[in-house]
Amino acid sequence: MGDSDYSFSLTTFSPSGKLVQIEYALNAVAAGATSLGIRAKNGVVIATEKRMPSILMESHTLEKISFLSDTTGMVYSGMGPDSRVLLRKARKFAQTYYQTYKEPMPVVQLVRETAFVMQEFTQSGGVRPFGVSLLIAGYDEQGPHLYQVDPSGSFFAWKASAIGKNMVNAKTFLEKRYSDDMEIEDAIHTAILTLKEGFEGQITEYNIEIGQVTDNQKFKVLTPLEVKDYLGEVE
């Protein structure tokens, strides 16, 4: 980066003390499809709308919820390609940790490293911030965790949160519905109901994606059949 003509940072302060590029990145996130996560007593669930631009698209090839490691998964709102770069780096962090310590990487550490990468791209030459917010869900020795990471690199732990287009309404809905002694099954139902609130059109098992991790510490993405069952229960 030092040799190029763009060795200066493109992300610069405005007179009011804001980093405008980050604000705009957050706009890119807010334009993206809604994603949400809920932390229950015995696990975490993350869910997202799969907005397909055309019915000709193969919906099962678009994976918005991805594995970071056996115990952790993530979902994004915003620019898909940007999320894939972070996904790759996060997976590498998790594997490198495991190689060194033969222990699954604690969720907060993984979040911290990923957030650090995102911050680097707000203070380096010739790059722009990532146009995604991530919801990272994992289960480690400290229990279930749900973290949100923003384009600025700040990260927050949440009991329940939503990002993307419908986040304001979704968060209000979650505030009302959340309780500390929720079990994972309740959390999945609540997640579906929350997605339903802002959903344009008919919700089916092909246009939403749900991921969960419970105290068996294995993250999994629900199959369309499993999603269909939950949708049926929620009706």
């Binding site: 190689q99 310590y101 033969k102 550490q109």
Partner: protein, 206 residues
């Protein structure tokens, strides 16, 4: 006499498992081939209240590696806000050694500790980080072969801390007395859930 860089300075370490306890012991000699130049060397280092690391081999690498581990562990403690598990530490040691696969650290470490549940954890590695896990005992150093012999003879399962101390001490002394590159004093650390107790043994000073 310097047929191997690993025997240049001399020294040995033995670690044994008992019932909810481990003992790790070493001699105290520091030599330059046949000449003894130190009798108060530390080759067993405390990692935390439940975990100790013994390092035999080239003295300069022992010191350097120990300092590297201290550095990494301090960072680990700051980031993770907890103490490292014996298995994780052992793996970290192995990774560190293998990272120098083609220009190795001339040390052969022994990791001895108790898991959170109080179960003994023993691991010995060669200079490239190949681990050897055992439920009974692990050895390292210039008289490793002798240590295998004495330990095999004296060890039995489920020894109490007092019995384990006796068995470890006798196994170490018997082996060390037949090795000209080890000896000149001995130290034994007993690790139990209550903490670490260190004792110096009265040994032949030759």
């Amino acid at each position: 006499m310097g047929d191997s860089i690993l025997t240049y300075n001399g020294g040995c370490v033995l670690a044994m498992a008992g019932h909810n306890c481990v003992a790790i012991a070493a001699d105290r000699r520091f030599g330059v081939q046949q000449t003894t130049i130190g009798t108060d060397t530390t080759r067993i280092f405390k990692i935390n209240d439940r975990l100790m690391l013994g390092l035999t081999g080239l003295r300069t690498d022992v010191t350097t590696l120990y300092n590297r581990f201290v550095q990494r562990l301090n960072l680990y403690r700051l980031r993770e806000e907890r103490e490292i598990k014996p298995s994780s530490f052992s793996n970290m040691v192995a990774s560190t050694l293998y990272s120098r696969r083609f220009s190795p650290y001339f040390v052969e470490p022994v990791v001895a500790g108790l898991t959170e549940k109080g179960e003994p954890y023993l691991c010995a590695q060669d200079l490239l980080g190949a681990p050897l896990f055992a439920n009974d005992f692990v050895v390292s150093g210039t008289c490793a072969e002798s240590l295998y012999g004495t330990s095999e003879t004296f060890w039995k399962p489920d020894l109490s801390p007092a019995e384990l101390f006796e068995v470890t001490s006798q196994s170490l002394l018997a082996a060390v007395d037949r090795d000209c590159l080890s000896g000149w004093g001995a130290v034994v650390h007993m690790i139990t859930l209550d903490g670490i107790e260190t004792r110096l043994l009265k040994a032949r000073m030759d």
